[in-house]
Symmetry: C2
Subunit: 153 residues, 2 copies
């Protein structure tokens, strides 16, 4: 029993030593990288739909619906990676207000998620897609204006 307890304590101590100033699981730098990765993938794929909406790329229903499905599945993921302690750990452009005014941030992200949830349905038709890309774009901009810094910190 003593040996088990010793091993347990050792495990805790070792975990602590690599944990640094942050909670061990998940590591802030990994959370930051993950949310940046998801936003990057959302951005490129949403932009492809934006190009269709602007007439810069031909409308292909199968491609549009597939891409819309992808954006819908990705949309909620970054917001699970803004937990306590993830405001530091790597360079990023997330405003400190995300952590100090969580209610306002949630309100902004909820608007985005509500509009994105209509994307795959609207992608079945070019005119609906155009309209919905516009609605989503506004919620992207709203959140970026309020919560995304111009320079990484």
């Amino acid at each position: 029993m003593k040996k088990v307890l010793y091993k347990f304590i050792l495990a805790v101590v070792l975990a602590g030593s690599v944990q640094g100033a942050y909670a061990a699981d998940p590591k802030p730098e990994e959370e930051i990288r993950y949310r940046q990765s998801v936003f990057n993938v959302i951005g490129r794929n949403f932009n492809a739909l934006g190009a269709i909406a602007k007439g810069e790329r031909p409308y292909d229903q199968a491609f549009a619906v597939k891409t819309a499905n992808l954006v819908e599945l990705l949309a909620p993921l970054p917001f699970g990676s803004f937990g306590p302690g993830t405001d530091k750990g790597a360079l990023h452009r997330s405003d400190a207000k995300i952590w100090t005014d969580q209610a306002k941030y949630k309100e902004a992200t909820d608007k985005f998620l509500a509009e994105v949830s209509k994307l795959s349905t609207s992608a079945k038709d070019l005119n609906s897609l155009k309209a919905q890309v516009g609605e989503i774009g506004k919620t992207c901009k709203g959140c970026h204006d309020d919560f995304r810094l111009k320079e990484a910190r």
Copy 2:
């Protein structure tokens, strides 16, 4: 991590200044960041399915199918971002063989894509999911062994 990120950002800035050497659209550093982002999102979500397969996380059919759909939609995307000139432009771990032995690389990535295409169907049942996660994992490892460097270059 900060240092790596700093180097990465520096590389991006430097790449910008010598951009003339590359095709302008899309920029190599953006292609590199995009494929890294997609692999990162695939990795975390595939690992969630791996945790279910290993019994470390409870099996929830709706979550498993949704996550499998996401991984399936993401899987082909990185391979569109290994075009000519994207072997340089930012720090990355892609072996030069990807560009010098494209046939072998395609063979390896095709194996991955063939196994991933069965993921969302297999996710409907825990035993099928376990088996398919194993099959996909082998193709991940095969490609990483041959084409992923241990250190960023």
